[in-house]
Symmetry: C2
Subunit: 202 residues, 2 copies
């Protein structure tokens, strides 16, 4: 809450730090992003960052990853809710991802993959935050498939596959600077979902 008791239009310093760190992390990874760069990009100073995040760089990264994970989940939710047919819903996810990725110039992909891969050996909080994000996304897809008529067992296994394929397709799209991998994967995932049969909607 900002001054005058109303929500501030320009975010609070803490929010600016989290948002800037989130964007930088998904573009350059954890080790590739410096605290001073976060300070510069968020119009904050080192003092402010260490004031709000006494845990240092890792604490900033955890908050940033949680923020990015929620943004990504919101994108998935709206794409999934736009269609009753789960197969079309899954395809819509890949289309939305392709739009966002292309609009960012192929730089802003999955907000956790890069950070997750860099901190694999460690037992850092970053690891846990990334794992939690993945589980949450899978659950969103699994719920949609469940409501679409798949069994609990099938829904979970297909959801794991869908999220894995979307992540991989996004990386492929970034590397090849083309939306085609995401579109192709979306079509094939829709076909996979359809292969489980869609009960007629009452």
């Amino acid at each position: 809450m900002g001054r005058y008791g109303v929500p501030m239009q320009t975010s609070s310093t803490r929010d600016r730090i989290v948002v800037a760190a989130s964007r930088l992390l998904q573009r350059q990874g954890y080790v590739g992003t410096g605290i001073k760069q976060i300070a510069q990009e968020s119009q904050a100073t080192l003092g402010s960052i260490y004031h709000f995040f006494p845990g240092g760089k890792e604490a900033v990264a955890v908050a940033a990853i949680e923020h990015g994970a929620e943004e990504f989940a919101a994108l998935l939710r709206t794409a999934l809710e736009g269609h009753d047919d789960p197969a079309e819903a899954v395809a819509a996810c890949s289309r939305r991802l392709a739009e966002e990725l292309g609009a960012s110039g192929w730089t802003d992909g999955c907000p956790v993959t890069a950070a997750a891969l860099e901190t694999l050996g460690t037992d850092s909080q970053i690891q846990r935050a990334c794992a939690a994000a993945l589980r949450g996304w899978e659950e969103l897809v699994a719920d949609k498939l469940l409501r679409g008529g798949l069994s609990a067992r099938d829904a979970r296994e297909v959801a794991v596959t869908v999220m894995a394929a979307l992540e991989g397709a996004e990386v492929t799209a970034q590397v090849s600077r083309s939306a085609e991998p995401l579109h192709a994967t979306g079509r094939q995932l829709a076909r996979l979902v359809r292969s489980y049969g869609i009960p007629p909607r009452g």
Copy 2:
């Protein structure tokens, strides 16, 4: 060639550098891996590294990524060749990946993903090496699908999906420290391939 004119059992210095760099890159990414760490791990010195790779860290990384990409391609090739049915062949790939990943303690995943994500914004040679690796792997899968009876168009699109899903599933498996994402994805990819119908084998 080593001394006595016979191939050396312990590789040449240059090979040791490439192999060590490849393993470090896939575990810690590009920025997370230091030249001095590569020197220590490969039992070489800075002088040797800069002698064989005047291009510095980036040149070492390119050679290391090409090495890792070929290793990965070899794994895919043997897994694909083990089965006539392309659906079973794809499932075999995910099983082999799960074996290797588990044996490494969930640390040695795809040898290019981490490095690729870190160098996205740049126009470095690393980018190009990663893109080439992905294309090569896709081609291996596409060839198998073609020989399995899929049309050229279907084979390419399914191959893109298979490689994306395998990469994503490997990341998921690493983060969750479990082989299950790879196994589930393998089963679903086999189902997807089977949905294109298998012509009876003569």
